[in-house]
């Protein structure tokens, strides 16, 4: 594994019977990169992510995440990554503070450290007034931002975001991506899946999955040149059409 790479995947496959949900994909992700992992519904994105975060065992191939093998050391991977799923996943019946404390706690942070970081986070997000309100009473945009912050709370080396901006308005999406940039500036690697092709333009590099395979992988700029189109949206459409 090269020093600058935090993810290295080689021929990773997940088969359910005869069906190969993920078919021998290979790529690497550099430290501090914002890596867009695109694909249509059912292309195998979520299955691939599940293998990388250690909750699903690959059928074959190799993969290393933050220097650990997904076959042999999934537990070590779990300690060093953050994860935010497409479904909103904080507890509605816990307050903002309690949610942060709980998730900090299950990553083994000390009480003192949690209190300190929590205060800092609440200030950063400007949530001082509602820190003791139940999360269920917050608007979706706020929840999502909070959820992202919570997934970063234990300072993971990589954070996996599985369609983090589903169902939020463009302004909130914009703010969300500002947060992503900020985290990337601090050296956190971002691995993000999305449906929104305009979001793909924000990524450093983008891979596009079609039917379990990675069909394209490069910077958005180069991909547009390669496919001779103006937007990532057209790249995506062209790619999907070619396959058919």
């Amino acid at each position: 594994m090269k020093a600058e790479n935090v993810i290295e995947v080689n021929g990773l496959t997940k088969a359910f019977g005869d069906f190969k949900a993920v078919n021998a994909i290979s790529f690497e992700v550099k430290k501090g990169e914002i890596f867009g992992f695109l694909g249509a519904n059912g292309a195998g994105k979520t299955t691939a992510i599940k293998m990388l975060i250690g909750i699903s065992r690959p059928t074959s191939g190799e993969a290393q995440v933050v220097g650990y093998d997904v076959f042999t050391h999934p537990e070590s991977i779990k300690k060093n990554i953050g994860y935010m799923s497409q479904r909103f996943a904080l507890y509605d019946d816990l307050t903002v503070n309690e949610n942060i404390t709980f998730f900090g706690g299950i990553y083994g942070l000390s009480r003192l450290k949690i209190r300190e970081k929590r205060k800092q986070l609440i200030e950063e997000l400007g949530l001082e007034d509602i820190a003791n309100k139940l999360v269920g009473s917050l608007p979706l945009g706020w929840k999502q931002k909070l959820s992202f912050s919570v997934s970063l709370f234990h300072d993971p080396k990589i954070v996996f975001l599985d369609e983090p901006t589903g169902g939020v308005d463009p302004i909130t999406r914009r703010q969300f991506w500002e947060m992503i940039y900020k985290a990337a500036d601090r050296g956190t690697t971002i691995f993000v899946t999305t449906h929104y092709m305009d979001e793909a333009e924000y990524c450093d590099r983008v891979s596009i999955m079609v039917d379990g395979r990675i069909e394209a992988l490069d910077t958005p700029k180069k991909l547009k040149q390669q496919f001779e189109v103006d937007s990532m949206n057209d790249v995506f459409l062209k790619l999907a059409r070619n396959i058919e």
Binding site: I55, I81, Y83, R87, D92, E98, F102, G108, R111
Partner: protein
């Protein structure tokens, strides 16, 4: 360990902030035990009866007074002929007729034996039974009082003979059953719902991606319910001892230990259900249909197992509640110790291990 405490704290937040689960946890046990203890018993109050007194002497008068003074009966009618009995019942108000034989008082003293007929309206068999038992009790009581004064063994022979106080006995029967239902409800249903809730909300995924191991997640979810179930069991036992004067003949410690065992059996079942169900709704349905109904119908709680058809008797063997009811009845009513219930205990332990192993297997398959 610290992670674990945080997890349990969070579980308690969930429980105490949800009014529905709070009600099921603390309202249900008390409501159920009160319902079964007071409402659903064969206790009678102010039952209207009629008297047919062929004797009309001092003895019958005293007995009639005694009956009318009791809060159980109110004498609504005095009739004079046998032929009046039928029409009296047909009006529907009168539930029982007491028929004193001719020369009742004299017979009692001379023959040392007198006859009384108790006729009850058996369209409601439970009430009819209770009425008979109560009147018998009053007669016996009277008999004792006259035997005390005079050193002679006068006897009133009622035509029916039953054991005194069926009403209290029914409470004694209900308590073990109610305790079983509550423990099952709290342990199995509540845990399966709370685990599937995390699946539904997507937080289970987050927990599985965290460094917590799957078994830590499950144990963390289950521990609060062990505490609450133990509290519930204690509340039920205390209520039955102090309100219904139910005896606990055997060792309280053994009762506690067996209850904890049954709580763990139920929790294992709850975990198993949560591996099958994906939504809170289906977890609740499976718990209700798959657990509560068999517990109520087949555990011997309401319907005696010995009077069921053989296939049902066989099926009843796979219901953990059946064995637990045998155990607590043994401890509370008969005062038996472990030597008499080791077999049932072993069966419960076996079932628990089986459910846990099965859940672990299912859980692993799901993760794959």
């Amino acid at each position: 360990m610290k992670r674990f405490i945080g997890f349990i704290q969070k579980e308690f937040y969930h429980i105490f902030r949800d009014k529905r689960s709070l009600f099921i946890l603390f309202g249900m046990p008390i409501a159920q035990i009160m319902l079964f203890g007071f409402a659903i018993t064969n206790e009678i109050n102010n039952v209207d009866i009629a008297i047919l007194d062929h004797s009309k002497d001092a003895t019958t008068e005293e007995i009639i007074n005694k009956i009318s003074r009791s809060k159980y009966f109110s004498i609504k009618q005095m009739i004079t002929r046998e032929s009046e009995i039928e029409p009296t019942f047909q009006k529907g108000k009168i539930k029982a007729v007491l028929n004193f034989e001719k020369d009742f008082g004299k017979n009692l003293i001379v023959e040392e034996s007198a006859k009384i007929q108790i006729i009850t309206d058996a369209t409601d068999p439970n009430t009819a039974n209770a009425i008979t038992n109560y009147i018998n009790a009053i007669l016996q009581n009277y008999q004792q009082s006259i035997n005390k004064d005079i050193q002679l063994d006068y006897q009133i022979i009622p035509e029916t003979r039953m054991v005194y106080n069926a009403e209290l006995k029914s409470v004694f029967m209900f308590v073990p059953g109610v305790m079983t239902i509550i423990l099952m409800l709290v342990s199995a249903m509540m845990t399966s719902i709370s685990i599937t809730r995390e699946k539904e909300l997507g937080t289970m995924e987050i927990l599985l991606v965290s460094p917590l191991k799957p078994f830590q997640v499950i144990i963390g979810k289950v521990v609060p319910y062990i505490f609450l179930s133990i509290i519930n069991a204690a509340v039920i036992v205390l209520l039955s001892i102090f309100i219904f004067k139910m005896p606990v003949e055997g060792s309280l410690f053994l009762l506690g230990a067996e209850s904890v065992l049954f709580i763990i059996t139920s929790l294992a079942l709850g975990i198993l259900i949560s591996t099958i169900a994906n939504t809170q709704q289906s977890a609740m349905m499976i718990s209700l249909m798959g657990l509560m109904l068999p517990v109520i119908l087949l555990s011997g709680f309401i319907f005696p197992i010995s009077s069921m058809p053989v296939p049902l008797q066989i099926i009843s063997n796979i219901i953990p509640a059946k064995w637990f009811i045998v155990i607590i009845k043994g401890i509370m009513l008969k005062g038996v110790g472990l030597p008499y219930i080791w077999k049932e205990t072993l069966i419960l332990i076996g079932m628990t291990v089986f459910f846990i192993v099965l859940s672990i297997k299912k859980y692993k398959i799901r993760l794959e």
